[in-house]
Amino acid sequence: MATNNPPLLEVKNLRVEFPTRRGTLLAVDNVSFEISPGEVLGVVGESGAGKSLTGNAIIGLLEPPGRIAAGEIRLEGRRIDNLPYEEMRKVRGARIGAIFQDPLTSLNPLYSVGRQLVETIQTHKQLSATAARARALELLKEVGIPAAEHRIDHYPHQFSGGMRQRVVIALALCADPRLIVADEPTTALDVSIQAQIIALLKRLCREHKTAVMLVTHDMGVIAETADRVAVMYAGRIAEIGPVRDVIKNAQHPYTRGLMGSIPHLEERGERLTQIDGSMPRLTEIPRGCAFNPRCTLRGERCMVDRPELMAAGASRAACWLHDERGVGPSVATELANA
């Protein structure tokens, strides 16, 4: 790499397709981004925006018939999107860790948590059984499980939801990965537990210098955790930039609407800003900008040409508003709805 600070993860023009009987669905459409070592990138969007699929594509766990149709994913400069299954298995766990939404389904109910940790440690590291168990215990203590010496032999069902998610985080950290893909890690948890898990994830990543791709629908979690954020809409990135800029000074009309629709404590308005309509189905993504039927600032150009990410303030946004030629003459709402 020529640059001083090569990215840890590089995703370039990623396309994820789902061949179905009624034609091919494009679930992730030309998505590119990078994650630097130790950085937390938030990926936010509403259901069906393609954020989880992007995460799954990176860890090589796309559910068939979903497949990567184009583009490439590089981890530390090495291409990982076309690795054979066994090769990818070695990368996953050792270089990339994964945390999923539901801690109960990501743990094996038949093995004690200690055994699961030891197994994972021994898969990726040359350690004796005793040393691996000592390491497992250390990890459990690190993620804040009380009485870890005792709890290590317990089974997943004996833990509460928050404690289970801590165990899952310990599992993800087993082999000191460089990157963790966390898919909605706090969504299934209660608010008070959610705050604990976010604080834990933040602390551990800082200490281990692990980069995180944090996939969530919760802007609050992003605001608390991420360094940069990518906002996804209908399989595309609408806006990407430093978290402060995206939240407080959004450049894409969708991001602006999304931020306005979240009830704030700071402003108790009479009404929330609302974006009318809903995200298009993957079979009916409109021509031009995918957001155009719901956009209040839409122009003629938005209906025809698809905007790519372009510089907008401190961020980059996929919106013609930031192009020097602008959006073109505005189109009457009636015309668009017809």
Binding site: E46, G162, A223, V243, L258, I262, R268
Partner: protein
């Protein structure tokens, strides 16, 4: 004059014991979950009263008790002066039932997938005999659909043809069909995306103003509760630990649990507001802690809190159940949520 909705000493216990034979063989005791353990609430006409709390605190059970989906173990629920538990003749009960309706959390599970939307919405109108004839029925359903910003043509479709937000609109239209005065909403927006949540919350607020509705709103999302409610009750392990007008509760929270909950709201404005994540988890309602049930997680707990359950005492337009507040040992806290410039 009695309040519009008055709930006194409401309790609901669930028996979760193993079967009789297993209990006898293994010599196990009965196990009772005290899901709701003495709740007193009054709701005035036209206001939105919200119940917040974490999962398992009993807030949804209260909602189901209020609409009569569960019979209470103890306590009374009075609706506009009528005791809901009292047995009456069919006509009188049905007249009372018409006036309160419920909106459920999951719009995928609460609509019959085999019915057309028209029939789903028309069912309460038919059941209570509110339409003069077929034309009137059609007219009413079409008005309801328009009221929730759907089109009359949507009546011919089935629920699976709609998105989550649209389905929740159908649920609302159905709840409004019997022209109720009181709506119990159990996490109506929790299954929805934020932009759709905003649409539903706006719709609910518009409808409340137009139809003079009273809401009992159940949610775990404090920001949503702050936005929509007139008064808020905070529940913990089956009890209401604090209730107060919304502004008071958010600006000057009294109970340590309320303060903890407020600390968990993510700081979207990134003001750098100090937040202290409190350790510990909600204990099991089968064996709740002695005394004040919050004492194992409370930074202010002392010996008295471990032994004596606190009583609810009136303070500043609401009430709070905490020994520390009663004795004045917990410092007063003033919170502001000013927008950072």
């Amino acid at each position: 004059m009695p309040e519009f909705v008055q709930i006194d000493g409401l309790k609901r216990y669930f028996d979760v014991s193993a079967p009789w034979l297993v209990r006898k063989i293994e010599n196990r005791p009965r196990q009772i979950v005290q899901a709701v353990d003495g709740v007193d609430i009054t709701i005035a006409k036209g206001e939105t009263f919200s119940l917040v709390g974490e999962s398992g605190c009993g807030k949804s059970t209260v909602a189901r008790l209020v609409v009569g989906l569960y019979p209470p173990t103890a306590g009374t629920i009075e609706f506009d002066g009528h005791d809901m538990a009292q047995r009456r003749g069919g006509a009188e009960t049905s007249a009372l039932r018409r006036r309160l309706q419920m909106i459920f959390q999951d719009p995928y599970a609460s609509l019959n997938p085999r019915w057309r939307v028209f029939d789903i919405i028309a069912e309460p109108i038919r059941a209570f005999g509110l339409a003069k004839d077929k034309a009137d029925l059609r007219q009413q359903v079409e008005d309801l659909l328009r009221q929730v910003r759907l089109t009359p043509a949507d009546g011919a479709k089935f629920p699976h043809e709609f998105s989550g937000g649209q389905r929740q609109r159908i649920s609302i239209a159905r709840a409004l069909a019997s022209r109720p005065e009181f709506l119990v909403c159990d996490e109506p927006t929790s299954a929805l995306d934020v932009s759709v949540q905003a649409q539903i919350l706006n719709l609910m607020m518009d409808l409340q103003r137009r139809l003079q509705l009273t809401y009992l709103f159940i949610s775990h999302n404090l920001a949503v509760v702050y936005h929509i409610s007139t008064r808020v009750g905070v529940m913990y392990l089956g009890r209401v630990v604090e209730q107060a007008p919304t502004e008071t509760l958010f600006r000057r929270p009294k109970h340590p649990y309320t303060r903890m909950l407020l600390d968990t709201i993510p700081d979207l404005e990134m003001t750098g507001r100090q937040r202290t994540p409190v350790g510990g988890e909600v204990p099991s309602p089968i064996n709740p802690p002695s005394g004040c049930t919050f004492h194992p997680r409370c930074p202010f707990a002392n010996e008295r809190c471990k032994v004596e359950p606190p009583k609810s005492l009136p303070v500043e337009g609401g009430s709070v159940a905490c020994h520390g507040i009663e004795e004045g040992r917990i410092p007063v806290e003033e919170r502001s949520y000013e927008k950072a410039s």
